[in-house]
Subunit: 159 residues, 4 copies
Amino acid sequence: MIIGVIGGETSSPGEGEVAYAVGFEAARRGHTLICGGRDGVMREACRGARDACGHTIGILPGDDRKGMNEYVEFPIVTGMGFARNTIIARTADALVAIGGRYGTLSEIAFALICEKPVAGVGSWELVSPTGEAAPVVPCSNATEAIDYCERNARGQGGI
Amino acid sequence: MIIGVIGGETSSPGEGEVAYAVGFEAARRGHTLICGGRDGVMREACRGARDACGHTIGILPGDDRKGMNEYVEFPIVTGMGFARNTIIARTADALVAIGGRYGTLSEIAFALICEKPVAGVGSWELVSPTGEAAPVVPCSNATEAIDYCERNARGQGGI
Amino acid sequence: MIIGVIGGETSSPGEGEVAYAVGFEAARRGHTLICGGRDGVMREACRGARDACGHTIGILPGDDRKGMNEYVEFPIVTGMGFARNTIIARTADALVAIGGRYGTLSEIAFALICEKPVAGVGSWELVSPTGEAAPVVPCSNATEAIDYCERNARGQGGI
Amino acid sequence: MIIGVIGGETSSPGEGEVAYAVGFEAARRGHTLICGGRDGVMREACRGARDACGHTIGILPGDDRKGMNEYVEFPIVTGMGFARNTIIARTADALVAIGGRYGTLSEIAFALICEKPVAGVGSWELVSPTGEAAPVVPCSNATEAIDYCERNARGQGGI
């Protein structure tokens, strides 16, 4: 399974710890990590995944590999700026949002369009125009978040 | 100025009325309308703008013009699915969100990344991970929304 | 009809004259011009179209309107770099290639994928792996090129 | 190094053999393979790379993993149609074109824009408007092609 980790390029120490744990736990269970490939939450999640011997994919916004973190194993260079966020949402089978600002919000929105499960650890709270909360399921730690991903991810029509 | 109108492909009668009024008012003041070019809020906004003799641009998600509404004057065919939402946010000088679901949420997020003003009429309420409300400014009608756009739009480094 | 003009950001005086004439002739016959919105061939084509009171759309590669030419009436800001070339090919009903380098080559390729007619004035000659020449039809002037576009464009499944 | 293999979704038996050999040789030398992830040349190149225990990345055009070949290890779902070709060109350090039609031509064009070396095995011959042949270097087999890639690839400004 491919698990997306989304969150800010700058992160608080607490967010960094959660990101590392999420990356580690995902990889320990045999999942591949996908993220935006840059600093902050993305870097810590990649570091965790690599420490657990997992694969990491970074979907980079720029025209080359500049700014990617050193724990990205497979850098994908899109040259599309933040439109690359749509690729993370489409590729992941499930996503974990950690903190985050507007970029993360856009990834959450795309993941929900694609009907992918999204676990949130200290992330956005959303109230839709019709008054329903959007289904970003709050989790308190990495294990809960990956459990939620595993239980709710659906096949993608692959081979 | 180019004003973006974002909202659902299906809309309630009330949302449709607001969308028509926003399109009409924007065009009456000489602005060009940009939107996703399809049904619901997008169609009503285009209809309003055309009734006020304004220009309308539709940024279409598909591979051809199928599904565009008949009030789109300039259809732009992207073939990129919902990644086309980033183009609406980048092109508009200011945006009005009317109701909407996850697609609209993604457009709001991209507009905020681009530091474009966003007026909301019965749209998403967002609380960021740090507890601040995101700056989607609630407006109660079309005039207020376009006033807000005009007061807060900034130049884009054009010619 | 929407006619795409593709060609280099720098152009020889001869290419500039052809581009102006193509823009003028397209607009004189009531067509809208689409191009990459920048300098060289794109600027001259837009200038010609505006002189004939036609509409011009510029599909810009950058994150804002910087670098657009002053004859673009409707700037579309994609933030996607040269991936924006796909949008020009998809949106146009027919295209005219004038000179050009690799960017133009990519637009020709995309236009041919989309089965859009492409008239070439002093542009690429292509021999496919199976030995056939690719259907970029050489034209000697603007009138011939627009004639070719009009005769060969097909509907796009719009409204 | 990441080596891109570009070519048609349908391939002749000879093209399939070359593609397999290119994938195998690239992986044997420790390179990662990137391609469009689908059938024909792409499938055979992935099969070769997996047989030599290499990694394979498929940049898919659709909205999910449907249509990917079974030798893609890391499927990247773009939802962008053929605009995904730009990502292959940007991500690869060097590319091998095998046969191919217009999609391959667009990838060659993008690779040349990005100043990536392109080896061609029975692929497009291009003559630019100024009469120069475009630098797609003809190679007669997989070893020659990968040799050319290794000698001419440049760093991408990664970490």
